[in-house]
Amino acid sequence: MRAVVIIFPGSNCDRDMLVALRKSGADVSTVWHKDAELPQNLDLVAIPGGFSFGDYLRCGAIAAQSPICRAVVEHANRGGYVLGVCNGFQVLTETGLIPGALMRNSGLKFLCKPIDLIVETQNSAFTSGYAQGSKIQVPIAHHDGNYFVTDSELTALRDEDRVAFRYTDNPNGSVHAIAGVLSCNRRVLGMMPHPERAMESQVGSTNGQALFRALVGQAMTP
């Protein structure tokens, strides 16, 4: 599987993402935000966490207008896989690849701690390695993770089984306790928690491994 990790000024989880993908068997490289093109024969674009462009204007808003993001949208429209974590999720909502928006946490505090997620659907390349309804522990680290969608969009997300993960104890006030959302074609996932930080038992959890293993494995099958 051929994957790239996009780096914006202010990205800070790019190396963790790179290591997680490489460890899971992907052929990974990095791409700078000013590049206008992605490598050929690419399977996956990963947009890492961080504070792209200092979170100016709105989290992810400036990054979503960068040259590389036009190529990311084209990649997604061709049916390519895209994973956006934390700030990457915010970028995906700003590009319109994932519906909704991420607002300031309802408690107004930056939250940095391990939390429990429920795997809401097994039906995606990202979540097929988990049992439906299983509970996994993954860290969060964000100030703006309060997911908002309109009632009608929420109904659509639920009807189409596009809620990938929910918090067991909604830490940030997200609608329906949503932590991760899939695109219509189920090949784009945006999520606030950091699976790339849950790859080693030394740092508390290995529950992120199943996501990357399943993703890398699935994208290899023609």
Binding site: T93, P99, M103, V149
Partner: protein
């Protein structure tokens, strides 16, 4: 000329910052504040004769996220 874009969260979208400001005002002893909404003002210094529709396009493409925000535009 200047364009003043005032961006607010849409009605119905919970504004946690506004709620925090409201409770802080209450702690300070100000009574009768029924609600606080916090937004932002973006001041653009633009070339004379710039069409209003162009500023509206700037708003829709970058300055405002129409999922959660609404805006008003004043050209001075």
């Amino acid at each position: 000329m200047k364009a003043i874009v005032t961006v607010m969260l849409k009605n119905g979208v919970l504004d946690p910052q506004g709620e925090a400001v409201k409770s802080a005002l209450s702690v300070l002893g100000f009574s009768g504040v029924n609600g606080v909404r916090q937004g932002k003002v973006i001041e653009l210094d633009i070339a004379d004769g710039t069409d209003e529709s162009q500023v509206n396009e700037m708003c829709s493409r970058l300055l405002v996220n129409s999922v959660i925000e609404s805006y008003t535009l004043d050209i001075l």
